[in-house]
């Protein structure tokens, strides 16, 4: 039995309690509460949760790496890393919403849905049973369908929500079909037992095992934005409120990777098939398509959406070479944590621009460096970090990923080529990030400084400090990711 004081249970209690109570309180108060009051309650719940995760880590109550217990949830470092990333993103989204949601309808429902979706993401990362994984996956997805379409009077928001809903529902359906196959051939829904079942699989059942793993890749790949399954992603991120785009890009996408790491990587290792090359090809396709499409975008949110597809490709490098290099998965985890902050900050900066100026077109943000200096600075630092410019945090995680790809070259011939593709794509991404920076600082002349939303400034300052500090002194985070990295090589040796 899992203890009642373990991290996922406490997070579930805190966030779930507040998330359910918020709309009820709002009705009891006859909807007189302000955006700020609901937002502060939400923030307290999120800070309490992240505090509890850190407290458990500090007291060493957390098992290292990823464990496969008989319970439906495991209190391990792997889950804690994802929980920290997702709670930081949820905090960004909530703080950004203080100014963005001003004068918009139903703030209590909005914050409550953010909390419910955050529980889903955190539980996906901690789940060790496929039933729990699926329930958490849906708890994460269903609130975000509503949040994407939250601007009921805005046709773009609506269209984005419907497209996102159809693809998301199909992804869930495919995941549950894959789970049903895995259950059928191994006789269990516990992830650890499923993997052990895969290892001793009867020879004529192996094709069904492959089909199940393929369905997991497709289903989780929809949320991760891997390339054959990415069509919905730019539409959803562009049409959604930008604060919610931050939650999607930096939060739900990472939950997809959490599930993929626990299920696909381990499951495919157990099947001992040549899945690595397939994932490597998907990684190269994903980063290339994402970055090339991003160059052609005229809309800031859409460009960031394509760049987010590109980053899914970088993270996938670590997954594809996981059996050949010890730092592959570690690099992926590090980049996941960094990407959550970088992309979250970039989208919150877009939310600030939308709140103050109501524009997202790249031509219309000329001279932003003079109009909104702090937001512009935050956007610049996060874009440079996304491109992997030293000494920012994105540089170290990309370095680790590419180094692991080269390291894998001793075993597989295509390992170094992944690193080559990654470096070329990073250079390419610097082109369009540089274009935005040029528009903001070197074009337009007559702009006057306008009042920036204070909540946005808070997020910007925090994320600038985070990115620069980790960039200058990455050692503690690298140690933490090492602590959280699941030991995959052990399972690979036959």
């Amino acid at each position: 039995m899992i203890e009642l004081t373990s991290t996922p249970i406490i997070i579930l209690a805190i966030l779930g309690g507040v998330g359910v109570a918020l709309p009820v309180i709002s009705i009891a108060m006859k909807e007189r509460g302000t955006v700020a009051s609901y937002g502060i309650v939400t923030l307290i719940a999120l800070f309490a949760s992240i505090g509890y995760v850190l407290y458990q880590l500090a007291l060493d109550h957390v098992a290292p790496a990823a464990i496969f217990s008989q319970d439906v949830l495991a209190d391990d470092a792997f889950g804690s890393l994802f929980a920290i990333a997702m709670l930081i993103v949820a905090i960004f989204t909530t703080v950004g919403s203080f100014s963005y949601m001003k004068n918009k309808a139903n703030p209590s429902v909005y914050f409550s849905l953010i909390l419910l979706s955050t529980i889903g993401m955190v539980l996906v990362a901690y789940a060790t049973d496929l039933v729990m994984l699926f329930v958490a996956w849906e708890l994460m997805s269903i609130p975000t369908y509503i949040l994407v379409g939250f601007l009921k009077k805005d046709p773009i928001s609506n269209e984005a929500a419907i497209k996102y809903f159809l693809f998301g529902a199909l992804a869930s359906a495919i995941i549950i079909y894959g789970i049903s196959l895995a259950y059928g051939i191994t006789g269990s829904t516990n992830i650890g037992e499923v993997i052990q079942g895969f290892m001793v699989l009867d020879a004529n059942l192996i094709p069904i095992g492959l089909l199940a793993v393929g369905m997991f890749i497709a289903g989780f790949g929809f949320k991760m934005g891997l390339v054959p399954f990415h069509m919905w992603l730019p539409d959803a991120y562009e049409g959604a409120p930008p604060t919610i785009a931050a939650l999607l890009a930096a939060g739900t996408k990472k939950a997809g990777f959490a599930a993929a790491l626990r299920v696909i990587v381990m499951g495919a290792v157990a099947l001992s098939l040549d899945w690595t090359l397939a994932l490597g090809i998907i990684a190269v396709m994903t980063m290339t398509v994402g970055n090339i499409a991003a160059i052609m975008q005229k809309n800031l949110a859409r460009m960031l959406a394509y760049s987010s597809i590109g980053h899914a490709g970088y993270i996938l490098i670590g997954l594809s070479i996981a059996p050949f290099s010890t730092i592959g998965i570690q690099g992926s985890l590090f980049h996941i944590l960094n990407h959550a902050v970088m992309k979250g900050a970039a989208f919150i900066a877009v939310a600030g621009i939308v709140t103050a100026l109501a524009v997202t077109h790249i031509e219309k943000i000329k001279g932003l460096g003079r109009r909104m200096p702090i937001t512009a600075l935050g956007l610049v630092i996060s874009l440079l970090a996304l491109a992997g410019v030293p000494p920012l945090n994105g540089f170290w995680s990309k370095l680790m990923l590419f180094a692991s790809a080269i390291d894998a070259g001793t075993v597989v011939w295509w390992g170094p080529w992944l690193a080559v593709a990654g470096v070329l794509n990073s250079a390419l991404s610097l082109a369009y990030y540089g274009w935005i920076i040029r528009k903001m600082y070197f074009e337009g002349e007559t702009e006057k400084r306008i009042k920036e939303p204070r909540a946005i400034i808070a997020v910007m300052i925090f994320s600038i400090i985070f990115m620069v500090t980790i960039g200058v002194y990455p050692e503690p985070i690298i140690q933490f990711t090492e602590f959280a990295t699941p030991a995959i090589n052990v399972a690979f040796t036959p």
């Binding site: 039933v131 609506n158 199909l170 549950i176 789970i179 259950y183 006789g187």
Partner: protein
């Protein structure tokens, strides 16, 4: 006994194929929603059939969870479609093309 199981699996695979076909060919959102539901029900049929033939009966529990979750998902989906209908007076995919590029 295993012949019976293979019958269930064949029906389930057929349902999966019908669902994927419907989703890729139909252009009406309600029909597409039905197609997704057919895929989910194919998986439910699989789960219940496997649970019947396995010593571990967790599959039936999972099917119950999945039915409840699918209901919640459909409720949200239909709400989104109704809001879209009020705005566009239509629920055809072809009319939803302001987001592209």
């Amino acid at each position: 006994m295993s012949n019976e199981l293979i019958d269930f699996v064949i029906v389930s695979v057929a349902l999966l194929a019908i669902g994927i076909y419907g989703l890729s060919v139909k252009r009406n959102f309600i029909r597409m929603l039905f197609a997704v539901e057919i895929v989910i029900n194919a998986a439910n049929l699989n789960l219940v059939a496997f649970a019947r033939f396995l010593p571990h009966s967790g599959g039936q529990t999972f099917a119950l969870f999945s039915i409840a979750i699918a209901a919640a998902e459909v409720a949200v989906g239909l709400a989104l479609i109704i809001v879209a209908y009020r705005m566009y007076k239509n629920i055809d995919v072809a009319d939803f093309r302001s987001l592209k590029g």
